[in-house]
Symmetry: C2
Subunit: 240 residues, 2 copies
DNA sequence: ATTGACAACATGTATAGACAAGTATAATAT
DNA sequence: ATATTATACTTGTCTATACATGTTGTCAAT
């Protein structure tokens, strides 16, 4: 269920996207938004907090909330976003080729160096090659852990695994830890990505549900010349 | 000035760091924290929101706030954190060698392909080589834009530019957009980083103040074999 | 022993109100 | 004209309250 502040945030985000509120201008003040949406100021402020976190606006005390212009530098791809979602959002008309789809009684070898803590976990191994404009771009290796994900139809891998998990199974994907490195890859991967050298960008991530259950391990091998990670970050003032 | 909720967040974060609250356990409930800190529940909740965003805890409805165990996989280096801060936090006893420190009337050539919008901006050009355990690791190229940063002493570059800006000049560093790619580098950089090939990881970022003034451009060239970017991300549900 | 209802806890969401502090404008005094 | 003051805005912070909803254990009925 969407909360009132989620709906307001969604509506404002869409208005910013469609340039009803333009970069460099202020959106209506919190009091005006309060009247507009018929809600309390705190509720409006919770919506604005979301937009601030996303990097859509910057709040300036005494003045208002300024719309930032980030579209110039393309859009954040950090966070947790599935390939299918990116494909749709960025309209990159990509093709997906399923290379592997198998159930395993333990973690496949290739995952071991990165996720040794799951050595003996059952799961489903999915390998998919992402092809953009006839160019192999990314090799996605997923391992869906068996508890909590028992069975998954092959059709879900063809479309979107995340959509299947969230819409069909009703699971709530919540957070992830990611690690980006550059590694040497074997002949097999080198051939798949049509590389003329042995280096690839590797994004390794552990993905978790709302109840902190780990449900997926991912290794994504990217062509270095195509790889681009865009991020928006705010300075945090908590010192550990 | 630090707000009440900031102080609570800071205190809780420190307790988590020092294992007073351990991973897998729940921190005290919001009502207990309310009593503990003598504040309202909303104030406590604002503190918990910060810890949630940082990935220190996961709130579970009906149960409580669980401490997550992220230290196992080393700690998020996304966000905006200066090298000096990282050096201190991670205790990596790094050495910094200043290669360039000059005022410029326009953007130096090397920045142009990445920040063409600042072509004619005055500023200070700082190049620093980061050496970790006698191994050149990162080449940091900064360009501090003249408005808003007029003069900067060379001593600041030797210690920490961010500390100088925030503490001495009283500027508020607020947010940044970052872009991570892999690029071919020229002989000069190749030699500095002691690379036996031509690929380096490039982190390009635009850094902004609280009033949305852009104040710094950064190009960081990393040795691919040493590069590691760790991130914590939460799934966002706003669709653009 | 199993089930079901209930109570006591947890977090999630929304509201209303108050005051602080930064910004900009207009009126005022010099 | 210039500087000062008042004011009406803005966002920032905190409080108190209410109700919704999810979780867990207890106690009673079956």
């Amino acid at each position: 269920m969407q909360s009132k502040s989620d709906i307001i945030a969604q509506d404002l985000a869409s208005k910013i996207k469609h340039q009803l509120y333009k970069p460099g201008n202020y959106i209506p003040s919190e009091n005006q938004l309060t009247a507009l949406y018929g809600s309390s100021r705190e509720t409006v402020r919770r919506a604005l907090d979301q937009l601030t976190e996303l990097g859509l606006i910057q709040k300036i005390k005494g003045k208002g909330s300024l719309v930032l212009n980030l579209e110039r530098y393309s859009f954040p791809i950090s966070g947790i976003t599935s390939f299918a979602e990116l494909n749709k959002d960025l309209d990159m008309r990509a093709e997906t080729k399923i290379l592997t789809f198998e159930k395993c009684s333990q973690l496949p070898e290739k995952f071991l160096p990165y996720f040794s803590e799951e050595k003996d976990s059952k799961g489903t191994h999915v390998e998919r090659l992402r092809i953009i404009q006839d160019q192999p771009d990314v090799l996605d290796c997923d391992y869906l852990l068996n508890p909590p994900i028992a069975d998954i139809p092959k059709s879900a891998a063809e479309k979107s695994i995340y959509q299947y998990l969230e819409n069909d199974l009703g699971l709530s994907i919540s957070y992830a830890t990611k690690e980006i490195t550059v590694t040497k890859v074997d002949d097999h991967i080198q051939k798949l990505l049509q590389l003329d050298h042995e280096l690839a960008v590797l994004v390794a991530s552990r993905n978790y549900l709302e109840d902190t259950t780990k449900f997926e391990l991912t290794l994504s091998y990217h062509r270095p010349d195509k790889f681009k990670f865009v991020d928006f970050a705010r300075r945090k003032h908590i010192k550990l």
